[in-house]
């Protein structure tokens, strides 16, 4: 049976070849940093996962062949994600990027069990010496967007489509309001909560509902698709979003983007991991860290407001201006922050009340 023999000898040969290749590979693997990335949504041209991957690419460019990145996208939060993160560690990844809040508990368990693994986690609050969550100070950018919105609105009504009423999103809306009021104290902000992280159709209906109430500038707060931006362009109202630019979906009415560039942060943490000095702890990153930036400003913004925005941005960068500084009133008119007092990072991150001027009631 020549056929069998042939197959057997082929198998033998290929086995030898595999061993021959595998041996030097294993020796080489000592020098290659293996990094695992878990993303909550598919990577697209825009959105949250896209910006995370841009950051990862910055690291890849810096490390070249000495880093091996495994990306697993569209992983639902929960037991499945924990299993996948554990699997990445078992495969020898010593650096993990967990790209969503819900990966927190599984990630912490890995961090406690495997001190040699360093974990970067998006928008959580738990920390370990080898577990470092990060959050962007979007509010610095949305304040500037509020200034621009105030200069463009005719109805003095601006609005926001929000995913869920959690502090991170509430804070961005409050800053948007404060920025608008710094230009025109009469401005009001309406908020529509979709109560979903992902439902493009409802997000669009929410935007249309705002537009039907004469809202003429819309903040797309935490939508990963250009759903709101596209509706705004069609209806002829201005709109902006977070994370990455969606200008191509609204060529004429795009107000701008409050972008995030995670590259510098990821690079710093990977460098630290390689040096054996990974800094566990919370990272609240803003313009001063080169993480939050604004771009693609609409040319319709009047020149005097542009210079005011630039001056404010410079003041945020050099630390002479903070967005959340008293006196701050809440919606009921109660003073929450006294005159001249700046809120601490912790207070800002736990903000569960709207500033005066936001007309929509906050879901309790």
């Amino acid at each position: 049976m020549p056929d069998t023999i042939k197959r057997r000898s082929f198998l033998k040969g290929s086995l030898a070849a595999t061993t021959a290749i595998a041996l030097p590979m294993r020796a080489l693997a000592q020098d290659v940093l293996k990094m695992g990335v878990v993303l909550p949504s598919p990577e697209a041209d825009v959105g949250w996962s896209h910006t995370l991957m841009e950051g990862v690419r910055t690291v890849q460019e810096a490390y070249g062949d000495t880093i091996e990145v495994t990306v697993l996208e569209n992983i639902a939060e929960g037991p499945d994600a924990d299993r996948i993160a554990n699997g990445l560690v078992a495969e020898g990844n010593t650096m993990l990027l967990l790209g969503s809040f819900g990966y927190q508990n599984g990630g912490i368990q890995i961090a406690q069990r495997r001190r040699d693994v360093s974990i970067i986690h998006a928008s959580g609050y738990l920390t370990e010496p080898n577990f470092a969550p990060f959050t962007a100070k979007y509010w610095q950018g949305t304040y500037l967007m509020g200034m621009a919105a105030a200069s463009l609105t005719k109805s003095k009504k601006i609005g926001c489509v929000g995913a869920f009423a959690i502090p991170e999103l509430i804070t961005s809306i409050n800053a948007f309001m404060l920025g608008a009021q710094s230009i025109d104290p009469e401005i009001e902000v309406s908020v529509v909560w979709v109560n979903s992280w992902f439902d493009p159709a409802s997000e669009q209906e929410a935007a249309k509902a705002l537009i039907s109430q004469d809202v003429d500038v819309i903040f797309s707060n935490a939508q990963d698709t250009p759903s709101v931006i596209a509706v705004a362009e069609e209806a002829g109202v201005y709109a902006f979003n977070l994370n990455s630019s969606m200008k191509e979906y609204a060529p004429s009415k795009y107000l701008g983007v409050v972008g995030t560039d995670w590259g510098p942060h990821f690079k710093r943490l990977v460098d630290a991991h390689v040096a054996g000095e990974f800094p566990g702890g919370n990272f609240w990153l803003g313009m001063e860290d080169d993480i939050v930036y604004t771009a693609d400003w609409n040319p319709d913004i009047p020149a005097d407001v542009v210079s005011q925005i630039e001056a404010t941005q410079a003041a945020i960068l050099d630390g002479s201006f903070t967005v959340f500084k008293g006196p701050l009133l809440d919606q009921a008119g109660t003073e929450r922050v006294a005159d001249g007092v700046a809120m601490t990072d912790g207070e800002i991150l736990g903000m569960d009340w709207h500033v005066a001027g936001v007309t929509s009631p906050l879901p309790s």
Binding site: P42, N74, E205, A206, D224
Partner: protein, 291 residues
């Protein structure tokens, strides 16, 4: 535009994906089967239609392709439950998950792309009526065709022999078989029809209603459509009513927020579901015979 005008203009479009999928499933269930894979069949239809329209700019082609592909997916379900006699719940869920997975796979490189939707057409003369004319009576062609088709479906189910055969197959398969009707074939055709309707529903969601493609964009509408069939007690008119009610309430919730009504948004968001439950209770109290 007032809040009322917004509701009048948007409700039919918001209800349409639910209506199409629910009507398809209604026919499936009338033949005595239950296909739980609506979400997946809608998703694959949405992805296929989007890809077609993205490349050809022809919406009709997109709808056709979506209906075909979703019908093929539904035929997998038919093969499982009719030929192999597999468990309907398991087979339906499997087909649903398969559809979601395939839609993500095919749609991968189209993630977050946009296309242009369809022009809205006003009904002649009637669209001149103030308030209602430019809003409720000005819709895209798919809405008008669906309304026509719904009337046709109602007629077929209630006034023709075919409708009686479908009912017979569903209510007593043995009797239908005994008098010579091909039960398996009729059920297979119904399942394929249900799949095609889900495909159309998905196509409308991705190429007209939003119009964009993103993985997971059906966002639970398949399950709502499934509930609507029960809500409508397998009657065309009631399914239409349920879909429109759901559309009104889901838009009304967002409008109430935009106006600034002091009701927590979670309560408003759950309103469509609460009303559905209340309606179910009301219907089952007033009507002993269901179906």
């Amino acid at each position: 535009m007032s809040a009322l005008e917004f509701l009048l203009a948007g409700t039919l479009a918001a209800a349409l994906p639910l209506l199409l999928a629910a009507l398809g499933e209604m026919v499936v269930e009338k033949t005595g089967l239950l296909n739980l894979g609506l979400e997946g069949m809608m998703a694959i239809g949405a992805a296929i239609a989007f890809i077609c329209v993205y490349h050809t700019d022809a919406h009709s082609l997109g709808f056709l392709a979506a209906a075909l592909v979703s019908a093929v997916l539904a035929l997998i379900f038919a093969a499982l439950v009719i030929v192999v006699q597999a468990n309907q719940v398991a087979a339906g869920l499997a087909v649903g998950v398969l559809g979601l997975g395939l839609s993500a796979l095919f749609g991968k490189s189209y993630e977050s792309q946009t296309i242009s939707g369809l022009e809205e057409i006003g009904l002649p003369v009637l669209s001149q009526i103030p308030v209602v004319g430019p809003t409720l009576l000005t819709q895209d062609i798919v809405v008008w065709l669906t309304l026509l088709g719904t009337v046709g479906l109602w007629y077929m189910l209630n006034k023709t022999k075919l409708g009686l055969i479908i009912t017979a197959v569903g209510e007593s398969a043995e009797a239908a078989r005994a008098i010579g009707y091909p039960v398996g074939l009729i059920r297979t055709i119904a399942v394929a029809f249900g799949g095609a309707m889900c495909g159309l529903a998905g196509a409308y969601a991705s190429t007209v209603y939003t119009p964009l493609w993103a993985d997971g964009m059906i966002a639970g509408r398949g399950w709502i459509a499934l509930a609507l069939v029960v809500f409508g007690t397998w009657r065309t008119g009631r399914v239409v009513f349920g879909a429109i009610l759901f559309g009104v309430l889901s838009l009304g919730e967002l409008t109430a927020q935009a106006i600034g009504v002091a009701i927590p948004s979670q309560v408003l968001a759950s309103l469509p579901y609460i009303v559905t439950i209340l309606m179910l209770v009301a219907i089952s109290r007033h009507q002993t015979r269901v179906g």
